[in-house]
Structures are given as C-alpha cells and as structure tokens.
Symmetry: C2
C-alpha cells in the first residue's frame, strides 16, 4: 500500500536544475512494463539535455510496445558508459529492467511522482502532487531552460496525457491541464497525439473488448463484475500485449460496479488477477489476502493455479474484505 | 456543409459584455437534442447574470437527458416574459426547440462557436476558434466580472469537457486546456465531473456497445465499418436515449477504418444514418447523395425505408463519392 506521505526528502526544482546543469554524460532508466509516462519523461529529459549540448541516452527497454516505438527510437543506448545515472518514474529498484540490474544502488538522481518512492537514489526530485512524472520533468525543464522545443514538448505531452487517461482520471488537476496547454503552445501536436493514443483501436482490441463485455459475470446485485480472459479468447481475437493495455478498466466503468476483477490466463496457464475498486473497498487489502498488493483502488496478484480456481479464490477474498 | 469562414460579423467580447451589463430580464435558449455545451453554456450564463443581481432564466428544454437533469434544474422557466432573448450554441433557427418557435426572428444576442451560424440574431458573439460555446462564454464572463463562481465554473466545465470528448477530440486547443485549468482553479470539480460524464457507463450502454461490436461488417479491406442497430437490439439491451449518445463514434475508432456508418432503426421502422469519416473522405458529400448533410467528417441522413434497404443505399453512396 502506498502511504500518502513521501518517505524521503525531495530536492527542490532549483537544486535538481543546478545538479543537471553542472554535469554531463547521462544514462536515463525507465521501468519494467513501460508506459507513456516513464518513456515520455525519460526521452524528453534526454532530448532537452542533448539540445543543451550534453551527451545523454535512455537505456534500451525491451518491453516497449508498438505504440511508443517511433517516439522513443532516437534515444536508446545499450552499452553507453555514463558518468551519471538518472531514473524516470521509477518508484523502487524492484521495477528496474533486467539490463539495469547493474545500476542498483548507483542511481545518482531519481525523478518521480510516486509517494511510495523508496528513496533508492542518492538524490531524488519527487513531486507527489504531479499527476504524471512528465509534469515534474516539465516544471524542471522550464526552470532550467525557460522554454522547451517542439520535440521535448511532444514527448512530455505523451507522458502527461497517458498517465491521466487523456485527462479523464481522478489525478488530473488544474496544473495538469495548464501544463498540457503550455505543451501544445510549445508545439506538441496534442490533437494528433490524442487521436493516435486514445481514439485508435486495433480490430483485435475491439474484438477483445467485445469478448470481455460478452463474458462479464455480475455479483452482489451488479456491484461486483468479474471476467475471465482465457488464452483461447486472446488467440481468437488476435490481441497482442499492446491490445491488452488497461483491460481491467473496461468493466470498472459500469454504473453501480464497486469491485471489478479481471483474471487473465497466462501462457503457462497460471493466473494474473487485477482488482479495481471504488473508494468503498480496498483493492490492496483484497489482493493481500492472496499474497499480492497494490494501491487502495487498483491492485493485483499472480496465482499458480488455473483461472477458474483463481476466480473462486479472489471472490472469496472479496467477501472476506468487503462484508 | 459548413464553410470555414463565418458568414457574419461578430461583436467583440467587450461589446457583448457592455450589451449584457446595460440590460436585464433575459431568457436564454438551448438547441434541440441538447448536449453538454448548449446546456452548460446557457446555465452558466444564466447563473452569472443572476449572481450579478439580474433576472435570467433558461427556457425549458424537454429533451434534456438524465445526465444533465440535476445541473440544469435551477435555471428552467416555461412562461417567463423576458425583455431580451439570448441563444447559446445555436447555429440556426432550425435548431430551436418547439417552445422557442415564437422567438424566431426575435433573438437579441446569439452566443455561438459554429462557423456555420446563419446570423439569425440581431447581435452575435461568434468565436469559431472555440472548441465549445462554453469557451466563448468563459472568456465573456471573465471579461465582464474578472472572476467566476464555483457554480458557474462547474457548468462551464461541463460545456467544455463534453464538446471535446474530455479533451480527446481534434478541436481541443491549448486555449481549451487553459480554460479547463482555470475552471478547476475557480472551483469546478473536474475529476468528479469527468468520472461522472466519461467513466461511468450503464449496463445497458455496455450491452449496446457489445452488440454493436459483435455486429460490425467490414468492407474494402477494413476501411469501411458498418453497423445496423435494430429496435430489437435496442430493446434487448435496455438502452435509452442517454445510452445511445455518440454510438456512431464506437467503430470510427478502429484502426484502418476510414468510413464508419451507423444505421439506426427508428420506432416507426424508418432509418437514421450517421456517417463518420477521416479526412480522406467527405462524409457530407456521401449523405448529400441521399438528401442529407453535415460536416466533412460527420454527417447524417434520415431515410423513409427499412434499415437493410438503407444500408444498401448508403454503401452505394460511399462508392459513388469514394472511388
């Protein structure tokens, strides 16, 4: 469970700005299962440092999905020997990619917005008020350089818009929208990016959504919605990893649903469970019953059993936590 | 088809501001099939004028849907005798509600953002650069009063967010996001409103989406997606008018789809066709072939025939326009 209070003392934006200005030769890390925020934040920082005449790379993340391939391509390095290592949007060393193992204990600067940041880095710029790490990077770069380029703005817009579900999620604040507005003014093609990121679905995704909606099971008068996503369903629809993004959110939108559960059959026929809840029920407490964890409104657990047995177990855990 | 250039001369914001300041006893009109923009704009203006000590009402719109009932309730009047009549977000007198017929030719001030506004009013405040009429009303009220109340901000946020699909649509600009940011700063509960308006679906809506996705037919290698929505489907899913909102957008999101067609069976078994296109094809030209019309990327036509015959006709029209 996240605590609402950060566990560590953050640098000020001015301190982080000076720290970067005085140094050179940076490698920037992103987290496993990379999303738009870690990728956009890392690449934007890399791009702005390069524009300032410095040498900077982002450590290749092999899990990057189709959606972000083009935007991130110019920044990857596999074997760059840096003087300084920076992490972007990474809350703990447990979220490092395999090729970043050797940098554990050696991060010079962590830039993050997770209140749960463990303080693994020598220096941390932490802003838990930011909806996305991209918001924090934007304020930093604006402080450092006064203005940002179109390329940097585009990468930051990707970070800001994806971490807020295109400004729909509860983390969106007045500052988030102001930052997004300034990014468009700096040249980010906001409408084009939102069309590409939020209003384009593959046929496979559409088929998958249809399968999920067709296979929903409701419990407790519609307050619990459960779906089992089997390998057969995934193969039938032609969905790849990109198409599976955020599928747990689909039935959480349904009016009256308090707990939404997604049980996804893995290729080895074990089960990966996602639980989303409204404020009424603690998702983290439900998953903790089975050895998992997460946030109060979004949590998960992997079980070494088939999906139908997993379904029984998680529904029992819901009953134990939500009387 | 809309022209990109307004046909009429707009008042300046300062002129419209002075015009309102010097007058009293206003009735404000909304358009048929009211959306969040016409309702939010009209009620926000009404609320701000009342807070300034003036008498103002919004003429009851009997087509208002469940989603907006609570927000609009305090402002309705049925038989108020005004000194001045204002229209909000209405492009032409053809879009007046039946109870507003008597005000045709008698509108004192039209506030609008449609470039196609016909100039039916004695005075017009027209800003075709605004993504929503709410954006125009916000700039006007900020000019008039310097600041706006939480209630006014809430109504304007509804206008701004609904007309941009929660900032996802191509009409969203840097100014739109800046206005939304300022509305949250003025007290609009942005996250709560977006949750209610965009992240809550009824079970009936979910069932309907599922039916639509299950019944899609693709043509021309996936570039044309067509769905027929029958009365039987509507009844089976339990969908009401609120649940039918924007259903034409569902299959327009699919990757590779250039033309998406929705043929909806009416209660009298005639057909209502919606056509959405990407920039490659002119939706208005397709519908014009059958006597309908609209914009370049969104158009429609009603046909006095059954849905299957309507399907043949519209697909033929697509072939004629898009060779």
């Amino acid at each position: 469970m996240d605590s609402a209070l950060p566990k560590i003392t953050s640098m000020t934006t001015d301190e982080a700005s000076k720290w970067l200005k005085e140094r050179d030769n940076f490698l920037i890390l992103t987290h496993i299962r990379p999303d738009g925020d870690t990728l956009g934040s890392a690449c934007a920082l890399c791009n702005a440092l390069r524009e300032d005449g410095k040498t900077a790379f982002v450590l290749r993340n092999n899990q990057v999905t189709r959606r972000y391939t083009d935007y991130t391509a110019p920044y990857w390095a596999e074997d760059f020997e840096p003087e300084y290592v920076i992490s972007a949007d990474i809350a703990s060393e447990g979220l490092f990619t395999p090729n970043a193992e050797k940098y554990k204990g050696k991060i010079d600067l962590a830039i993050d917005h997770h209140p749960s940041n463990t303080g693994f880095a020598k220096n941390t710029l932490l802003d838990p008020e930011s909806a996305s790490c991209g918001e924090t990077v934007y304020e930093l770069l604006k402080h450092m350089f006064g203005a940002i380029s179109k390329e940097t703005a585009t990468l930051l817009f990707i970070a800001v818009t994806t971490d807020t579900g295109c400004f729909r999620y509860g983390n969106t604040t007045a500052r988030t929208l102001r930052v997004a507005s300034e990014l468009i003014e700096a040249g980010a093609p906001g409408a084009e990016l939102n069309k590409r990121l939020f209003r384009t679905k593959t046929q496979a995704r559409v088929n998958l959504e249809s399968e999920i909606l067709n296979n929903l099971e409701y419990g407790r008068d519609g307050k619990i919605a459960t779906v089992v996503v089997t390998q057969e369903m995934i193969k039938k629809t032609g969905a790849d990893e990109d198409d599976m993004e955020d599928i747990a959110a689909i039935h959480g939108q349904i009016e009256g649903v308090v707990v939404s559960i997604t049980i996804r059959e893995q290729e080895d026929f074990t089960s990966k469970i996602s639980v989303r809840t409204s404020k009424l029920v603690d998702a983290g407490a439900i998953c903790a019953k089975l050895g998992g964890g997460g946030h109060a409104m979004a949590a998960g657990v992997n079980l070494n059993c088939g999906v139908w047995e997993a379904r029984e177990k998680i529904l029992k855990a819901v009953d134990e936590v939500w009387k």
